[in-house]
């Protein structure tokens, strides 16, 4: 329903910097997920899109129109707040209906819309209750219902599923994606949860320290991390990062040697490889270390190897077993190796 453009956005409170430098264009009907550690500025960015916070610098543009001076209530966005923000004196029914009343949706249509939203969030049985009489997860769903009850220009969802159990979370995830596709509403979604980000997003925005680290499709982010932060943040366990030296196409660090890398590079670099791109053993192994931990999970075995004082995670076959402290070798898939500059952490290509 709307294109959103954040251009040179900054948010400061005196000396505190909430958001440092955010530039992004979000296409119409796109589903964008902001992912990042606590305090990285996700909520702040979202509040600036909603018009609840004024950027210290930069512009918020929707459909080509600069929105900086437009009031929150005139922006036609629906937001799910991290703290739910349900109206305590109203029942759940009245809570969900509130935006319809404020946006002057005809009285006759309100009831059906409220009930539909309640159904999608499995709240039909709780409509007569006050928020204080609901569990955390139910409150969160009520907050979600209040946002999806109407068809705004933009959905802003700030960790809308953080308080649900695994099963309900998965069901709601599917529900949200479905609603978004059905209503064709541009959506900005904030989460801590990688799986949520990977499954929901058309594009993921990785944030850290108030700045965007990388924007890309889930595949891009996973396969082509732009820097060591993204590489070390995405994946579970995330990419292994080993600092070492490269010379004439050969990377060396304690216990690790990789040949056949781009010959143009030299100096200190960080070598990155994902736990699932490793094979135990092999004829010309890249890594030699001792077994530090073996954790079978049923469908695979997490293997932790100690190499030169550092721990390396490997996803081994589910049948793999080994005695602790025994010697072990590992081979990487050379095509999947990433190199980063040791100083800046930026990817070397």
């Amino acid at each position: 329903m709307a294109r959103i453009e954040l251009s040179g956005i900054q948010k400061r409170w005196g000396k505190v910097v909430g958001v440092r430098d955010v530039d992004i264009e979000i296409a119409d009907e796109e589903f964008v997920v902001f992912l990042g550690p606590s305090g990285c500025g996700k909520t702040t960015t979202m509040r600036m899109i909603a018009g609840l916070e004024e950027p210290t610098e930069g512009e918020v543009i929707m459909d080509g129109e600069v929105m900086n001076d437009i009031d929150a209530r005139d922006r036609d966005v629906a937001m799910v707040f991290q703290g739910y923000a349900l109206y305590p004196n109203m029942t759940i029914y009245e809570n969900i209906r509130f935006p319809l009343r404020m946006r002057e949706v005809p009285k006759g249509e309100q009831d059906a819309l409220v009930r539909r939203a309640a159904e999608m969030t499995e709240l039909t049985d709780y409509l007569d209750r006050k928020p204080s009489a609901l569990s955390g997860g139910q409150r969160q769903r009520a907050a979600l219902a209040r946002a999806i009850v109407r068809q705004p220009q933009v959905f802003l969802m700030d960790e809308p599923l953080s308080n649900l159990d695994a099963k309900l979370r998965q069901a709601m995830r599917v529900q949200i994606k479905h609603i978004q596709r059905q209503l064709k509403v541009t959506t900005v979604y904030v989460t801590h949860d990688q799986i949520e980000a990977m499954t929901l997003a058309d594009r993921i925005v990785i944030m850290e320290g108030g700045a965007i680290q990388q924007i890309g499709t889930p595949d891009d982010i996973y396969n082509d991390p732009a820097n060591t932060f993204v590489a070390g943040f995405i994946g579970s366990p995330p990419m292994n990062l080993v600092e070492g030296a490269i010379d004439a196409g050969t990377f060396t660090a304690q216990g690790i040697e990789v040949t056949g890398l781009p010959a143009a590079l030299s100096g200190n670099v960080v070598l990155g490889f994902r736990p699932e791109d490793c094979t135990v053993g092999g004829n010309t192994p890249h890594l030699k270390g001792s077994v530090f931990g073996v954790e079978p999970t049923g469908d695979l075995t997490y293997l932790t190897i100690k190499v030169g004082g550092q721990q390396i995670e490997v996803k081994a076959d589910r049948a793999f077993r080994a005695e602790l402290d025994t010697e072990i070798t590992v081979t990487f898939d050379p095509a999947r190796i990433c190199l980063f500059d040791a100083k800046s952490g930026e990817r070397l290509r």
């Binding site: 509040r47 909603a50 018009g51 609840l52 009031d71 929150a72 209530r73 922006r75 966005v77 629906a78 937001m79 707040f81 991290q82 703290g83 923000a85 349900l86 109206y87 305590p88 004196n89 109203m90 509130f98 935006p99 404020m102 946006r103 209040r146 802003l156």
Partner: protein
Amino acid sequence: MASQRRKSRSESLTLRYAILGGWALFCLMPVLWFLSIGFRPRTEIITAQPIYWPTFSLDAFWMIFEDWPMWKYLRNSVLAIIGSVLIDLVLAIPAAYSLSRYTYRGRDDIGFYILSTRMMAPAIVAIPIFFLFRNAGLLDSVWALMLIYAAINLSFVTWIIRSYMMDIPKELEDAAKTDGAGDLRILWEIIIPAILPGIITASVIAMIFAINEFLFTLLIASTPNAYTMSVALANFTGGSDGLIYNAIALVAFLAFVPVFIVVVAIQKHLSRGLTMGAVKG
């Protein structure tokens, strides 16, 4: 084992009721005593020996209503008090909203100034206020009392409501804004319902202050036309009849009853209101 536990439980319950009952009796003693004085003949009041079982008499009751315009005093009290509380709420709620929600230069100073008006000894302003009201032609009317009570209570009513408003999470208003509500609507539909206990608490305290107010009432209500219960009480202390204790007791009781009824009626909100400021959520 189990039965013993049950027994000790019921014992502790009895003990609890006994203690609470004792406390209640202690608190109610003055009221009961007043009642007993109010409903006995005058001859049984001024005796040296205590009388444990006084004769029941409505003498004083008839006297205060027949010899004095007691209904009028009562009406004046009720009108002036309710009116003053309404004025306070109409002024205090927007003021508190502004003080708790917007940031502007001097906000905290204004807040403190409002509170500081309460710290002044009333006697200091009594004379200026008398002349102010006289020049405005407001002496001797219920309206003047309404104004003066409102003025006296406005500061702390504002302050109490402000502290309740500060406890409302900002996200709540943000949600209402994104849902499309304007400022007045947010105030009316979100904020006021959420702080209702605070509004009620502040109103009740304002009422109690107003009903006990004496100095300004005496000053401004210069004739029985605008006398309230508290000033009427003073009327029974002088004159050719001397101190009419049973009438005083009865009038005091009558002044007490309206507040008592109000407090009992809204008790639920009141007790919640008095603790809500401390415990969030």
